[in-house]
Subunit: 347 residues, 2 copies
């Protein structure tokens, strides 16, 4: 294992700056003395877009590629037209670095607030495909802006792309105590892509006889997420369905303030990127109100990806302890939460 | 207004038979003496498919077209491959009869069980587009079944199709006390369709100055549906997003046992179809365990569509009374619930 981490840091917009600062604080605190942490900050986001018109250039990609991993705060601002930074930066990076495993764990800790009655057990991971589906940018418009406009969006699904993410999800399910994997799709309506996903899922299942499998339509999945979230262990799903159900999963398991994600290239051909699921929240930016927990948990995912399992575990434990005590701790600022987590992982 | 109703009845599969019987019971009870109710039953569904290979023929469509409206129980059975009855019957009918307004109200009544803590206020309507989007069946596969398979699904969106459903939703919002309309899409990623929807939404908004509007991404919408459902009054959205969020909406507002829907052709060029949101639930079929409430509420939507507003209102009131007393009524069978509702509306 490498004893140095060369990290690209992208604070981004809104609360991104604040939460990333706390993520780095905790990262520094948890790493052993002999691990050399190098960080380089990049200025992607709304400000750079307004100044230069650039979102992510080839030179940027070449620079980012030199790093072991990327930590991102949040990208997006109301001053930029919808889609420009999402397609021009976030998705461009996921696609350029082949981040085909978009990993989003959900765990409801005791004492943590949830909109669900009865504090159900929630402990599952969504493996969302990250480089295909309706996210490819395929499609277009004709007769644009007229009453005869036709706009299409093409969901592209390949056996290659589906198999690798399904295989990754089976391996993750196999490594968990319950060993259960649920495929979420809409194969009764999106029959072309649905059959591809279902067939590959069933084929790969044969290689993992210990893993219990089932299938649910995405609409029904949203029902189970609020009525019986304990039924889920690992979920594998398409890019768009994954986008939707992971926001819901975050909402029921403590809120997007604590939802972490990894945009992972498992073969490490490119650096993986770790980011909170929440956005840039411009309404509360700069006020020290943002919860850095999701970013700190994203740092844990980053460490685990790089092989620092013990350190990742210490962060998870610190966050769990902090969250369960939170109700009694009163309102804390972004940096106070960061300080508390940093001292827990250091101790 | 016509003083006769010529109704096509499609009990379908599983619990469909049982719940439709109760829907008809309540319909007969609520109609004034001078309204002549004629019903004709059709045998669509799994049994007919197995016997004849047919799902919905041209002759079937011609016969159905003669009716004023259609009442459907549920279609679907595990013995039929996924997609066959959905695409071959349900969606075929929605498309053939141009059911572009898929109406799905959600209302949480006092005392009704919800998975959400704190019994929030929920009273909104989703206007789901019904004839476009990823539901068109456009797409296909190449190199099918090989490791080089590519499967596509094409979401088709037209200015014509979007405008008519958006206009319908604005009119519905205008007619409600809060007069608020929310567009739900994913216009930061699905930019081609997203811009079409957003532009048309903003244009039509100018004609409805009294209606307050906002926009939320579909992923965020799932968060609000569990953390702040009271923020919604009317939602207009795409076919697939509507499918997903209405299942979630049903789950939080009393469960799919009480979720009704109308597949509406507002201009009445074709008969509209009314059906519970739930499926055929083969696991409980034939046991008198199914809740007919969603079907009865679908009958209310049907009556309102045909201009019988007073009768529709009486059904809604009866259901509300039954639901709020339900906790104290113990377990009742499908027909006991139907009887109770029928006697309430008759009284
Ligand atoms: C901002 C947007 C492009 C992104 C997505 O849709 O993937 C976000 O919602 C997420 O889930 O990471
Ligand atoms: C059964 C299926 C085709 C249908 C849909 O996806 O529209 C159902 O989920 C619904 O919501 O009515």
């Amino acid at each position: 294992m490498s004893r140095s981490i060369n990290l690209a840091v992208i604070p981004g917009d809104g609360i991104g700056q604040e939460v990333v600062a706390e993520g780095l604080k905790v990262l520094s605190a948890v790493l052993p003395q002999d691990v050399k942490l190098e960080t380089k900050e990049y200025d992607f986001g709304a400000k750079r877009y307004h100044a230069t018109g650039e979102t992510l250039t080839d030179a940027d990609l070449a620079a980012l590629k030199q790093h072991d991993a990327i930590l991102l705060g949040a990208i997006g601002d109301p001053s930029v037209p919808s889609g420009v930074l999402e397609r021009g930066f976030l998705l461009k990076l996921r696609f350029a670095f082949d981040h085909h495993v978009n990993l989003r764990p959900s765990k409801l800790l005791p004492g943590v607030a949830t909109p669900l009655a009865g504090q159900p057990e929630i402990d599952f991971v969504v493996v969302r495909e990250g480089t295909e589906g309706p996210y490819t940018g395929n499609g277009g418009t004709i007769r644009t802006g007229t009453e005869h406009e036709v706009a299409t969006e093409v969901s592209v699904n390949t056996a290659y792309g589906v198999e690798r993410v399904v295989r990754d999800a089976f391996a993750r399910a196999q490594a968990r105590p319950r060993k259960k994997l649920t495929l979420v799709h809409k194969n009764n309506v999106l029959t072309f892509a649905g059959h591809l996903w279902t067939n590959i899922f069933n084929q790969v299942a044969k290689e993992f006889p210990e893993v219990t499998t089932d299938y649910i339509h995405v609409d029904a999945a949203t029902i189970y997420l609020v009525t019986d979230p304990a039924r889920f262990d690992v979920i594998v799903t398409d890019n768009l369905f994954g986008d939707i159900i992971t926001d819901l999963a975050a909402a029921v398991s403590g809120g997007i303030g604590v939802a972490a994600s990894g945009n992972i290239n498992p073969g490490r051909a490119f650096p993986s990127m770790f980011e909170p699921v929440h956005g840039s929240a411009p309404d509360i930016a700069g006020q020290g109100k943002a919860d850095p927990t999701a970013t700190v948990l994203s740092v844990a995912l980053l460490l685990r990806h790089l092989g620092y399992d013990g350190e990742a575990e210490r962060i998870d434990t610190a966050v769990a302890a902090d969250l369960t005590e939170r109700a009694s701790l009163g309102t804390r600022s972004t940096s106070q939460i960061g300080d508390a987590l940093a001292s827990r992982v250091a101790g």
